[in-house]
């Protein structure tokens, strides 16, 4: 094994054997899965357990009698007289709604609701909606509009997007999915660069303050030591990512099975609509899933991996250079800023401007400039940016990685042997031109 290999192996093995790594790696998918599970459980539980409620409407004005449409899970019954005492004795009625005798449709409506349990936000909306509809219809009728016309006024609007390709074919494009996927990928890269970049820096500082470098540098070239560290930590990140993806998918699959959704069912929309276990699933949700599967996922994943590793290598090299230039972590601040600023900037602008206009000028430039491209390109990727831009961006990143590693190598080999000296940018600049 050559020296870079030996160093890489050490960096990798010592890190993946750490208890904190094992815990983080196993717990995160568990957290994601249980979070997802709780959401499903709550929503299923709610629809299964929330019983039909019967509400006695005591309408002294007579406006609403036999006019209200029953929303989901709510049934209105009409009565002239129902007191709270009656409510206590009754098994069939859950609440009383009172309307005063003076009410006319031209006044604001004030309902009184009496019940042994308090009103949920959902049901409040449903009740207000039902009463509002009646008042609106009555007002429209009063203006001389036919009931038929009133019904036709209600129309549902949804947008189904299609992206037209150069070859004339069109694929379904879902704004929500694209946005969510872009954000998720960008955030993953952002956190990976930060978490693991800082680990590179800390590792370098550890070797420097422990004076291990003194010993190692006599057998390994500084460049080999730096590259071994950067690569070893990259492997740790990839290991963690792989375990996360596999475990999360596995756990979500198990949850899906428990709930009654199988992957095949999701993929085959036709059977879905006939599947009784999915009777409650919204058609919109199914569209969502099918839109997701319609994305060029293979391409997105491979490009994601390129930027995931590339972005890390670019920033990781710079973090290594910082670590070598300082004596302790507290001295890193002044050098950290120029590195963290573009990253924070890229995530902030990506989530606002780039997302708002994924193929605009700013978005295009940000996804090509290597300081911001790993994050910005991820946001754009699900929206299908032109291929030449992706290739240009990938090429630029590759060249920048080589440049960053060269630059970091120069700073590193001087920095790791320099103790007890506060270094500024001017000094760092000089190091670039030192010979041995």
């Amino acid at each position: 094994m050559n020296n870079i290999g030996i160093v890489t192996a050490r960096e990798y093995l010592t890190r993946v054997r750490k208890k904190s790594f094992i815990l983080m790696t196993l717990l995160t998918p568990l957290l994601i899965a249980s979070f997802y599970g709780i959401i499903i459980w709550v929503s299923i539980g709610q629809s299964a357990t929330s019983e039909n409620q019967t509400i006695a409407v005591v309408d002294h004005s007579g406006v609403f009698i036999n006019q209200l449409e029953n929303p989901d899970n709510l049934t209105f019954i009409y009565t002239d007289y129902f007191t709270p005492e009656n409510l206590l004795e009754s098994d069939s009625v859950d609440a009383i709604i009172g309307i005063s005798k003076d009410f006319t449709i031209d006044q604001p409506l004030r309902l009184t609701y009496k019940s042994m349990s308090s009103l949920s936000v959902n049901n409040t909306g449903k009740i207000e909606g039902a009463f509002g509809e009646v008042i609106r219809d009555k007002k429209l009728t009063k203006l001389g509009i036919q009931q038929l016309s009133i019904d036709s006024l209600r129309s549902a609007v949804t947008i189904s997007q299609f992206k037209v390709e150069k070859d004339g074919s069109s694929t379904s494009s879902n704004l929500g999915i694209n946005t969510a996927l872009g954000m998720a990928l960008a955030l993953m890269i952002y956190f990976f660069i930060f978490l693991y970049g800082v680990q590179v820096m800390k590792g370098v500082i550890e070797e420097k303050t422990n004076r291990i470098v003194e010993l190692i540098i006599s057998t390994v070239k500084p460049f080999q030591l730096m590259m071994g560290k950067v690569l070893g930590i990259a492997l740790v990140g990839l290991t963690q990512l792989t375990i996360w993806v596999v475990l999360t998918a596995l756990l979500l699959g198990i949850i899906g099975l428990v709930v009654g959704l199988s992957v095949n069912e999701i993929q085959d929309l036709k059977t879905l609509s006939n599947n009784p276990t999915l009777a409650n699933v919204d058609v919109d949700q199914l569209q969502f899933v099918s839109d997701f599967l319609a994305l060029p996922l293979g391409k997105i994943i491979s490009i994601f991996l390129y930027y995931f590793i590339g972005g890390y290598l670019f920033y990781g090299a710079l973090f290594a250079a910082i670590g070598s230039a300082v004596d302790s972590e507290t001295d890193t601040q002044q050098f950290m800023l120029p590195i963290t600023l573009p990253l924070v900037f890229s995530i902030a602008i990506s989530f606002s401007v780039v997302m708002g206009d994924p193929n605009g000028t700013l978005a295009t430039w940000m996804s090509i400039i290597p300081l911001t491209s790993p994050v910005s390109m991820m946001v754009r990727l699900p929206f299908g940016p032109p291929t030449w831009q992706i290739l240009l961006s990938m090429g630029t990143l590759l060249l920048s990685i080589l440049g960053a590693i060269w630059l970091a190598g120069k700073i590193y080999r001087t920095g790791i042997l320099m103790y007890g000296k506060k270094v500024g940018y001017k000094e760092l600049g000089k190091w670039l031109f030192y010979k041995n």
Partner: protein, 300 residues
Amino acid sequence: MSILQIQGVSKHYANHTALNKVSFDVPRGTIFGLLGPNGAGKTSLIRIINQITAPDEGQILFDNEVLNKTHIKRIGYLPEERGLYKKMSVYDQLIYFAKLRGMKTEEAKVTINKWLKKFEASTWKNKKIEELSKGMQQKIQFIVTVMHRPDFIILDEPFSGFDPKNTQLIKDEIEQLKYNGASIMLSTHRMENVEAICDEVVLINKAKVVTKGSVMNVRKSLKDNTYSITYTGNLRTNSLEGITVKKQDQKDGNTTLVFTYQDKPNLNIFDKPELHISEYREVIPSMQEVFLTLTDSTNE
């Protein structure tokens, strides 16, 4: 026959000169003392020998060849500031350094176990470095230095942090390494150790070689006609002619007089019936005195 020949080596940094045309030879199979006050340039020289940095001028011959990368694995280095990975186990750490020095894993395992046993350290094998006492850590560091059987070993302050028992252990190990044919360069500030184990020394001060040679020759070179005499009996020192008394001590009825002759040594002046002389010798400066005299800046 020299294992190492330093020839006119200079190293300049932005604001100061670390080494100024330094030349000396390290004879093969000896323990060689590299001496000098803090900041004299010792670390710079060691870094150049280790090929961590390159000299601005001059060259170094290792085993009669110009120093190059192939020599790295033949050199063992114990840095003054000890460095080990605190969170790594003793065994993993030793394996790591062995591999970096080109040892095969199997060979490394055997050697490491042998050394751990020798230092009664086998039970700490799986302990992390941070769990060990300072002395134990030093032993591990020593193993890291010598396990790949280097021909040339640089030890920078090898005794710091050791109690007397372990200091003796390390001294014996160093003697053993020499006996087995290795050449050792020892950098230390403890002059009593230099006298005890070094064959030859070089003294560097302010980037320049001040003196070099065998320990005895270096000491003798600073002789200044000083003698010491121990006797019983009454003697009025001011009755003695031709000497200048530097020090007078009385202990258990014995008087020790340290003095210099103003002219040639002349024992006859002590030839008095009331005196019983038990010792008379020439005083040769200790390495400590040599060091202090030669590095004293007021002497320039």
